[in-house]
Subunit: 383 residues, 2 copies
């Protein structure tokens, strides 16, 4: 820990709706806009923490659902918490488990109390409630705790979206109370609320008002990147972001492709997470300034250029596309390692470029140049 | 390259039959006794070359059979050779492909000319002969080239062992001629011959005499670690090693467990290779000064000690057994990475300990102390 405050957010420059600045927490500074590599099971897959940090990451994300099942929250606490366990001493944001319990677990049953389910690993029975989610995130030693909510599925009728949002807001209240009850942890950590309301402007407004009334350190935009596509996501962000407090960080959960991130930063988002750079790296997709490439393609078999000729990462400094092609085609672990490291560096470079462009007041030109070269994404917005 | 000679071997100290010294080659010094991590498909699996070097490795091994099939020897040459391809600028020893073509390929047919076979990857037809093996190892840019031979299967009758050895000796002659024909490469690289003769002293003697008559830079003991067990392997080494020239490095191929290595060093062996530290690391076996442990065992779930409390490697400096237990149980790539890195460090530390003990004239006590603590291996000698 340090002399830094529990949680503060300072904007140092703005450009249109976009802003750049820093969140200061006891375990370190988080430069914004920030991209958080995902460390699902107490590891950013295929990377050492040292290399994640060297790429420029100030914060990583851990998954409550995975960690509560293995190694288990109480066990993690006995082992000194997630930071000591995995060897990452900077801030960690943990999700609430709400999203993954619905997408990964078996025999789940939702009620006003919470969600009961069976582990996808061993069938053991568990219950996640706002109170238990807060307790687990406390046991993990999380720096930024996410409120327990329901990610409204898409598409949703207005009626279903409203009912789901209203439940999430009741759970947000219970999350706030549960978080505050852990006094020693609450004195070191921050709690973020999550706006819901699907694609409906009035529901997003109601959700924001309720969250602001409860009061959180930061606010996430939830329920996007669920299949609606980039245009619809941007349409929602165009009204949803401005509803959130100007002086608090805004986090777009589960996003996304590089051009999703650029567009969301232009709309005022400060924080992102996505498995895309890590997951797609393991299967052979490399991000480059000219768009993504699939390194397994036969045209790379004798290509001596680095993955991205303008990239300064340790992978591009040493190895060729031909070598990565060989490793990924051969199923070699080193292929997953190097592709992941490059992609994590690419994402951090992307964020640094956006921060610099905002600070210099040239974000529109920077974003347009990025898009012209990278190409508009043809697929879905999320990851 | 450098001002170093093509190949020289200097013994700096002896202790009984054991010796320590260094091989000097253009790409670097190789301290002996040396253990060579295996980099089958142009990668020491799950490790960056930087970390292999940091562990103390002066040389790695590459597999001709794997590399000729993927990416292919001619392609590798067009890409600048194996060193540039994988980012390892120190010496590389390549095997001849003879062992793996017999154990891995399909539809193989052996004749006096060589071995025709179909790739286990795509069924494509290939032919390996002494001449082609030399050509492939030249195209790869190998520093230490191994003669193409037949690894006599075990157990073998005296008659079969003699016939197999005689063919290997005719192939050794053709290997020498093939190697020398590649003049530019032969001016930079070394060629090792391989003693055969199964478990028969007179056949080992005949093989050695024929090899010495041809003349090689170094001599391997082949045909051991094939299922005969440690006691039988040591019995053969007790007469086989002394048949080889005193002033040349002696390489025991495919060995082995830590206590195999200690016993072979006591019998005068200078070089080793084995997949054991890398392969077993990926499946959860860690080598420690108190013997191997299986990190998946439930007793390690909350064990906060490092893999080996006396180990100074980067893994033991940072992570606990509990964390490695979690990673390997979860099938995480980082688990394979860290277990491999520890094991490669353990093997290099083992060799440094042996080199120091020989230099200080205390090898017998050192070896006895190692065995007393590590425990005698109960299984087969090989890897």
């Amino acid at each position: 820990m340090s002399d830094r405050p529990r949680f503060s957010f300072a904007v140092s420059a703005r450009c249109g709706a976009a802003r750049t600045g820093a969140i200061s927490m006891m375990r370190g500074e988080i430069r914004t806009p920030a991209f958080m590599p995902v460390g699902t099971a107490a590891t950013v897959k295929a990377m050492k923490p040292r290399d994640v940090r060297a790429a420029g990451a100030d914060i990583i994300l851990g998954n409550t659902y995975h960690l509560m099942l293995r190694p288990g929250a109480e066990r993690m606490a006995r082992l000194g918490g997630l930071h000591a366990f995995m060897g990452w001493d900077r801030p960690i944001l943990t999700d609430s488990g709400g999203y993954q319990v619905m997408s990964l677990s078996e025999l789940r049953k939702m009620s006003e109390e919470g969600v009961s389910f069976k582990s996808h690993l061993d069938g053991s029975a568990h219950m996640l409630t706002p109170e238990r989610s807060m307790e687990i995130q406390r046991l993990l030693g999380s720096d930024i705790v996410m409120a327990f909510d329901e990610c409204t599925s898409w598409p949703a009728t207005r009626e279903d979206a409203a009912a789901s949002m209203e439940r999430s807001m009741r759970w947000a209240r219970r999350s706030r109370d549960g978080f505050d009850a852990g006094e020693a942890h609450a004195a070191r950590a921050a709690l973020f609320g999550i706006q819901q309301g699907s694609m409906f402007e009035d529901l997003r407004r109601t959700s924001s008002d309720k969250l602001i009334d409860i009061g959180f350190d930061g606010y996430a935009v939830g329920g996007l990147a669920v299949g609606e596509g980039q245009a619809e996501m941007f349409r929602v962000l165009d009204f949803a972001v401005a509803m959130l407090p100007e002086d608090r960080p805004r986090y777009l959960m589960g996003v996304g492709k590089p051009d999703d991130i650029v567009g969301a930063v232009e709309r005022g988002i400060d924080m992102f997470d996505c498995v895309l750079p890590t997951r797609s790296g393991r299967t052979g997709q490399a991000f480059t300034r000219d768009g993504p490439i699939n390194i397994k393609n036969a045209r790379f078999a004798e290509d001596q250029a680095p993955l991205d000729p303008e990239c300064g990462c340790p992978v591009c400094a040493t190895w060729s596309r031909a070598y990565l092609h060989h490793l990924i085609r051969s199923g070699e672990i080193l292929g997953a390692m190097l592709m992941t490291e490059h992609n994590v560096n690419f994402y951090q470079d992307l964020m640094q470029g956006l921060r610099d462009a905002i600070a210099d007041g040239r974000l529109p030109a920077h974003a347009d140049a990025f898009r012209a070269r990278y190409g508009r994404s043809k697929g879905e917005a999320g990851c």
